[in-house]
Subunit: 454 residues, 2 copies
């Protein structure tokens, strides 16, 4: 039985296993899910063992554990290090989900659940592809799995784990499925990722909540001040005003920008899908460029004062915001975090006190398109989809990619099978059955071509 | 026994009764306290009956009930209509209270509880003053009590009640204790109150929460946009930019402004009490003017995106804010609410949708200082405190005052015994025992002088 037949014969089993995985609420950001995160790690470990690794282990960290497993076929064969994450984003606001986020359902050929695509679904494709190759005796490379539980909160402990296990993690290439492609009939390979700086800010006015009638107009309102400070971070062209912010941004050549903009993009469809009358972004750049090659600043959350039912005429003591910046080559997350902190404190009026707390960050990355690994990935997509994949710049961040390069000297191939419309990080996240099964097949083809290419 | 002796002999009883009243969480803004609000109304009704009114009743409204009671001594005597409210502001944030808001405690001669001052404590003084005059046979006026349960949410139903009961409420003067004085050794009488327009705004960007990496930089973030819109509502001089906003603001003469600023004010003590390094307000006006005679705009609450533990890289679909404006003569709450709604929708960029929902409002008011009632109040303070009270403009709003003038043709005397430092609307609200007992005595003296003056 060949790999294609094995996948066809095991579709229901592959699906049922993923649904079980999706039922465990492994929200890494919220400590109340700590036990579920560990359950998920054990689930992944058991899956790797059943699939046929020589050994699988749960590696403790200062935070959530990392699952490691390997199958060494022959020391002389090329080795693929598969990275993925089993943790998921928080599911709230729960009320906006059509079905409970941790009770997966299949609707119009899609799996609906938190983590269906990001990254349980895409990560699990690699486990099933490995099982397929083992079961059909077609595994042509050594394989190492490193599946972490802290990607959605900054992967801090994975960085330490990598530094401490260089030998164990030795490989020829990193393989990751945690990105998206343009469309099911337009395969693409992500060759660039944005970095991230994520901070929380706290603005304190008076030492207690005040009556807005007695003090309003005479005492600085921390919410108004926070709004003014956030507003001042961009100019009228949506250009970020933090001094030095753009100093290290790598400008692309006219040719590179043209190639980037040659990728199919339907602006009307884009607006229709989001139900917006207009897009908004940095002047002088296209939507593809704004999300691909330009840095951004977004408020991810804001709160302060009375947010309950009805009205309260309060002049609050404090206001808060979570602010993140997406970074591009050659910006440094650490440097931008420092620039932001320095600037945000500097622009605070004397009437308030400001506290800035860095949350986490990650470096931007660009992966080479002239490597044997990229060639193998491209060939795999071509064989599976009948089309050469288009190289794209992805707006998201997988901080670990630049860390792998730095610590292990390894390049990464980003074979993503999601779609931007999968609503990852949003209510009603979903993943297409087509993408799940096609992904498993494409991954097996990557191993075939990569073994040849080396 | 004279009134002074009666009050002295009943201090403990007067205090214990108030503590019982403070134990009932009558938060009118939050429907989950509906039952407690009614319990409080019944408590007030029973207190009036025990104090000796001819009849007391609970008057149903579309919202929380109104308690009415009256004692007609002689049709030819002047009639005082006492207004107060038994509802209180929400107590959150609960974690900032040193003791539970609805478990009153006495510390350094002060009663700590939500509503201790605003307005249960100040309202109950009138019930006890009435009891004192009844018990000592010194009641020289007819008295009518109208105690409502919706002052903190806009008094909408009281307005209807007043319109429908003009006959029943016929009186010579309205007497209210729901304001503050300058200091315990510097009595003052409030002669001006600000009005209020309170609205909630909702800004919608994309139709769902988005991944800030995939869409960030290309799609309008409703939080950033809301911050920009709020910021644009004031210029660099903290002057409000809503077209027409200041058109009806009554400018005071140089003399009036001087008289106002002659009231004692300790800026250093003010800043120390609030732990702020600087005050902030409209350019060209003093703190007393900013809170007394100038309109303001404050964000009372803001929320949007992810506000939970940790980090979530989301570009949210919606952002919200509760915004209120304090108004001065001769601004109209209805008109300002319309100007705000029109302007806020007009400044929204095409990339978002905006919804503005008026919450409630109230008209500003100025009370005459040349009336027999004002003279009686002034004489009462002088007799009780040994000092002539200073007329002041108060920053807060008691919308009902202008409604009384309009519907009943009655002026109001604002005999407030609170202090700005009582932290009303804030955690650890408190009310001085001195103020509570001195207030009861001063009120009995008002009746004495008012009967003479008429």
């Amino acid at each position: 039985m060949n790999t294609h037949e094995y996948i066809e014969n095991n579709k229901q089993k592959f699906l049922d296993e993923l649904l079980d995985l999706l039922r465990i609420p492994s929200v890494s950001a919220d400590s109340k899910f700590k036990g579920d995160v560990r359950k998920t790690a054990e689930f992944v470990k058991n899956s790797l063992e059943k699939a046929g690794v020589d050994k699988a282990e749960i590696c403790e960290t200062a935070g959530h554990p990392i699952v490691y497993g390997e199958k060494i076929v022959d020391k002389d064969l090329p080795t693929v290090l598969v990275y993925g994450h089993y943790d998921v984003q928080p599911a709230d606001p729960y009320e906006l989900w059509d079905s409970p986020p941790f009770e997966p359902v299949i609707k119009n050929e899609k799996i609906y659940a938190r983590g269906a695509c990001d990254d349980k679904g895409q990560m699990y494709m690699h486990v099933k592809a490995f099982e397929t190759m083992m079961a059909t005796g077609s595994l042509t490379c050594n394989v190492k799995f490193m599946i972490e539980g802290e990607e959605e909160v900054g992967s801090d402990n994975l960085g330490i784990f990598v530094k401490e296990n260089r030998q164990k993690l030795a490989a020829d290439i990193i393989l990751i499925s945690d990105t998206s492609m343009i469309a099911n009939d337009t395969p693409s390979l992500t060759v660039g990722l944005r970095g991230l700086s994520y901070l929380q800010v706290e603005v304190t006015g008076p030492n207690r909540d005040l009556h807005s009638g007695v003090y309003g107009g005479a005492v600085a309102n921390p919410i108004n001040v926070l709004c003014e400070m956030i507003t001042s971070l961009k100019d009228e062209n949506d250009h970020i005003t933090i001094p030095g912010f753009y100093d290290k941004v790598a400008e692309l050549s006219a040719e590179e920008r043209k190639a980037l903009n040659d990728a199919p993009f339907d602006l009307d469809g884009y607006k229709r899908d989001l139900d917006i009358n207009d897009i908004k972004g940095e002047k002088g750049y296209t939507t593809i460029e704004r999300t691909g090659i330009r840095p951004t600043l977004d408020v991810n959350g804001i709160w302060g004062g009375y947010i309950g039912e009805g009205a309260k005429t309060v002049l609050p003591s404090k206001a808060y915001a979570k602010i993140s910046m997406r970074l591009v080559p050659d910006q440094s997350s650490k440097e931008i975090t420092e620039l932001f902190s320095k600037h945000f404190s500097a622009i605070a009026p004397k009437s308030v006190k400001v506290k800035v707390t860095p949350h986490h960050g990650g470096e931007p990355a660009v992966t080479p398109t002239d490597s044997p690994a990229y060639a193998a990935a491209s060939a795999a997509f071509e064989e599976a989809f009948g089309k050469t994949p288009i190289p794209t710049r992805d707006g998201g961040s997988i901080p670990i990619v630049s860390l792998f390069k730095k610590e292990l000297g390894l390049d990464t191939v980003l074979m993503g099978f999601g779609l931007d419309s999968d609503a990852i990080h949003s209510p009603n996240e979903h993943y297409g059955l087509f993408n799940y099964f096609k992904g498993i097949e494409t991954i097996t083809l990557f191993y075939k071509h990569f073994a040849k290419a080396k």
